[in-house]
Every structure is written in C-alpha cells, then in structure tokens.
C-alpha cells in the first residue's frame, strides 16, 4: 500500500506536471534535449535520478512497472528503484517485459519486442552526444540548432584511425528523424536498431544534467557511420550458455581462475522465459553440478 507520508510516486503534483510538460515537448521535437528543473531524489546522482523522475511523472496507479539494470531485474539498482516505487506509488511490479506498461532501464533495451501500450524510460548519465568533443554548452546548443554535426563524425574518424574500425560500442550516436543527433544513453550499439521504428514511447531522463528527451513511437533513428565503414550492431559471437539463444546480447561471466567462462543473456527475463520453454544452452546442466561442488 502507498506510504501516506508521500504523494503518489514520491514527487509532488506540480513537479510531475513540470516534468510531463518537458516530456511532451521532447515528444514533439524528437531527439531535442529539453531542460527541466531536476529535483533532488533520495538516491545519489548516477543511480538513475533522471529516469526515476521521468518514471514518477509517467506512472499511473494501474501501471505495471519493471526495472532493469544492464538487462537484469535482480541487480542492486533495479531492485532498489523497483522497491522505491512499490513503496511510494504502490504500483504492481513485474519482471516480465511482456506484462509491464512502464519499463525503466539502465544500459539495455529488452530483447522481447515492445508494443504500443508500453513506455520505456532510459537513465541517462550524459545527454549531450557532443560533450566530449566540445566542452562548451553554449557551443553544443548552437551546433544542435544549426545542425552542425561534422564533429560527431570526427569522433568516429578517430575511432577508425586508432582501432581500424568504429570502436564505439555503447552510447553510439544516432540521428533522429533526420534532424537531431542524440545520445541513446549507454546502451550497447547492438540495441540501437531496436530504437528505430519502435511501437513503444521512449523517454530519456538525465537527472544531474537536467535534460529530458524522447522518441515518439515509430521514429526514424539512424546510427551514424561512414560509407566505407557501415554501422555494425555487434555482439559476442556465441550463443547463450544457459538458454542457447543466438540473437540476444550476452554478458561474459568468468567462472573460475583457470580460464573458465560462459556467455549468458544480459536480459535475465528473456533468458528465464526461454529456459522455461525448454531451451537449453551448452553449459546449463554443468552449472547445476558446479553449484553443488
């Protein structure tokens, strides 16, 4: 039940109204960073204060809420944010992507395709894709407003000249609706294609940097690249060792100090659902024996 010492979803109604206005503006101008008066939240910056505020302004009492951190439902960040809204909003929570209506995420997009009744909320540490190339905020704003995005390609050029390929593997810059260049938050570039033409609403909140931006459903999202070095949504070339999935993004887990390792789906819900459906990966039984030893 909602703790009565808090307003629904922690934030007061005026604050939520202010955030909703920023979200609506963000949806009206896809990819544009809307400044908003970020509030002090009961968690440190860097733990998802932006995402939490966007979720708080988005949640309704009938919503079902899911939180993932690097794809997992059971890591510290995910558990604490889920508990936070269980306590302050009293909304139902779930670990199943399919059943959730609002999903807050850090660093991943779920493998299960999203649908029109869902909102995906990203936690964003640094919303400005040009920040590490141009430190002045006045200048980056001007570059956005005048569509001067040559500098973004300088970063990719540097990658190729140093590593022989575009080595940026997360927070890979995208161009939205042919206009704004946007930082997709630190999701792996494997997830970039999922942002394009997505039926769900995608909202991005950066608490410390006080910016909100958004992608309306079915937006055109193109990852930047060179003609002779096209965008490659790479992942570890391996099936999941638990569920055998060939198409999901994998974490590499070191299992002992003798070179033993396994690749497992980073999306825990996807992996669990597949195993329950009878899919078995190469190391799945071995792990059970290992757990007993």
């Amino acid at each position: 039940m909602t703790d009565q010492s808090y307003n629904f979803a922690y934030l007061d109604e005026q604050t939520k109204r202010m955030i909703r206005r920023a979200i609506l503006k963000g949806l009206a101008i896809p990819g544009y960073q809307v400044p908003f008066a970020s509030r002090e939240m009961p968690m440190p910056y860097g733990w998802g204060t932006g995402g939490v505020q966007v979720s708080a302004a988005t949640l309704m009492p009938d919503d079902t809420f899911k939180v993932i951190d690097q794809g997992a439902d059971d890591t510290t960040n995910a558990v604490s944010i889920r508990k936070f809204f269980e306590k302050t909003a009293g909304v139902a929570t779930t670990e199943e992507t399919e059943k959730a209506t609002v999903i807050q995420t850090r660093h991943r997009i779920p493998e299960t395709p999203l649908h029109e009744d869902q909102v995906l909320v990203y936690q964003v540490p640094i919303p400005e894709p040009l920040r590490f190339l141009e430190p002045r905020e006045t200048e980056t704003r001007k570059m956005h407003s005048l569509e001067e995005y040559g500098l973004m390609h300088v970063k990719l050029y540097e990658d190729i000249s140093q590593h022989g390929a575009i080595a940026t593997s997360y927070a890979y810059p995208v161009k939205v609706e042919g206009r704004y260049v946007m930082d997709p938050s630190p999701i792996p570039k494997f997830d970039n294609p999922k942002m394009a033409d997505c039926p769900a609403i995608q909202l991005f909140g950066a608490g410390r940097e006080q910016r909100i931006y958004a992608l309306p459903p079915y937006s055109r999202v193109v990852s930047l690249d060179f003609e002779d070095h096209p965008f490659d949504p790479s992942k570890a070339d391996h099936p999941c060792d638990l569920c055998g999935a060939e198409d999901s993004y994998l974490d590499e887990v070191i299992t002992d100090d003798a070179g033993g390792r396994m690749f497992v789906c980073s999306d825990t819900d996807y992996c669990r659902a597949r195993r329950e459906a009878g899919h078995v990966g190469a190391q799945a039984p071995a792990m059970k024996e290992g757990a007993g030893a």
């Binding site: 190339l133 005048l146 001067e148 040559g150 500098l151 390609h153 300088v154 050029y157 540097e158 190729i160 000249s161 140093q162 060179f226 003609e227 002779d228 070095h229």
Partner: protein, 256 residues
C-alpha cells in the same frame, strides 16, 4: 574583374572607446592584403569584423558568394555565415591551439571541415588529410598523432592545412607567424607564399611584422589608433612611406 570582398565604412566601438573607424577597401581574387600597425591600433578588431566574429557598429562587408553574387555578410543569418566560414573562408589564428582541436589526431583535425560539409567516406577523407599534411610538410606517419605531440611550427602548419582543405577562396590570418622562431617563420612564410600563389587564394593578413607583409602581401594598409593612415602597394609603402607613423614603423625595424 569583380572584387571578392568589398569593405565599406566599418566602424567598431567598445563603449566609448574606439576599435576602428571608417575602414574601407576592395580585395580582388588572388590578392593578398596586409594590415600592419602597433598593438592596440585596431587591426584585430577589424579582422574580427570582417570575418564575422565581431559585429561592427556601422558599415558593410560584401562578399562575392558562389551562388548569389555579392552579399553583405553582416546581414546574413548565422547559419549562412557559419556555412561560409567553413567552406569559402578560412581563419588562421595566431595561436594554433585556438584553431586546432588538441584532443583529436592531425588527420581528424584536417578532416573535420570535410566532414562538416558532408564527406562521409573514411578512405577519401583520410587520403585528403594525408595529401594536405604532405603539402604543409608534415610526414604521413604523423597523421594519427595528436597536435599536442607537435612542435609550435608544426601545429601552425597543421592549422593551415586544416583551414585550406576545403579549398576556401578567402583566408583571414591573424599574426600567422607570431611566437615562432625566425627559421621556422621563414619556412612557414615560404609555404604560405607557395600555397597562396598555387591556389590563387585571396588573403587578409594582420601582423605587426613588416617582413611578413613584405614577403606575402601585394597591398598594405597601415593602421594607427583605429584609423587607416596609409594604403598602397607593399613595396611602395615600405620603401617610400609618406605618413609620419609609417616612417616611424619602417625605421623601427632592426637591421641585422
């Protein structure tokens, strides 16, 4: 022949203090104009006004654009002016650090302007960058080094390559040889003279070094306290100065 740049009655005040006043001249394609004067004479203010970095209080700067003929750059919208600044114009700063991205490799620095105007083929960009580094006498194996690893003279040459890669028609230079030792200056001037002649560039060079204008400039404008006190062909002004200040300036040069 049509002038490339027509400057009319440029005045700029900083509050009550005068920056420069009633400056006007024509610059023709392929011509190099030198602006000399002591510190505080308004040279850099004037250059800033011409290059669109400062807003003058009066006057107009007509640039002969490729598409639409002569247009007043001061009345252009900012996107148009910035587009001009990265295509047809180039600006060489006195300190290479101001004109370079110090955290980006030499190749990336040269390629930036190409990418800014839409080049999206890595191989082509890199080939052009290497070609330009060669033209400013930086060897190909330094293409992936950052400018922080370059000497002052190399940084200045890199800045020039970065500016000229898009084939501008007008180059603004603010003390391009300032802070370099004499032998490096000589090489840089030699290089600049070659490039200006080879590419048929027009250039406006602000300097207090008379040797620089003697080598590079076709025409000379002498400024003092914000006013132009003397103009003419370089050799004419330097060999037969008319105005008292110009005479002082010419006679102040150390003879070795």
């Amino acid at each position: 022949m049509k002038p490339l740049l027509q400057v009319r009655d440029i005045s700029k005040f900083y509050g009550a203090r005068l920056g420069c006043r009633d400056v006007g001249f024509d610059l023709y394609p392929g011509e190099v104009m030198g602006i000399v004067g002591e510190s505080g004479s308004g040279k850099s203010t004037l250059l800033g006004c011409l290059a669109g970095q400062l807003a003058p209080d009066t006057g107009e700067v007509l640039f002969d654009t490729r598409g639409e003929g002569p247009r007043d750059t001061l009345k252009m919208s900012e996107p148009e002016r910035r587009m001009l600044a990265r295509t047809d114009w180039a600006f060489v700063h006195q300190h290479a650090r101001e004109g370079l991205r110090m955290g980006v490799s030499a190749g990336g620095n040269v390629g930036e302007r190409l990418m800014a105007v839409g080049a999206r083929h890595y191989g082509d960009i890199r080939d052009q960058a290497i070609d330009w580094l060669g033209r400013v006498e930086i060897s190909e194996d330094r293409v992936d080094d950052k400018p922080t690893a370059f000497s002052g003279g190399m940084q200045q040459r890199l800045q020039i390559a970065r500016n000229l890669v898009t084939g501008p028609r007008l180059v603004f230079m603010d003390e391009p040889t300032g802070g370099l030792d004499v032998s490096v200056q000589a090489r840089l001037l030699d290089l600049l003279r070659g490039l200006v002649r080879e590419m048929g560039l027009s250039a406006i060079i602000v300097t207090h070094d008379l040797a620089v204008v003697r080598l590079l400039a076709d025409r000379l404008m002498v400024m003092k306290d914000g006013h132009v006190v003397e103009t003419g062909l370089t050799d004419q002004v330097l060999d037969d100065p008319q105005h008292g200040y110009t005479q002082l300036l010419v006679s102040s040069v150390l003879q070795v």
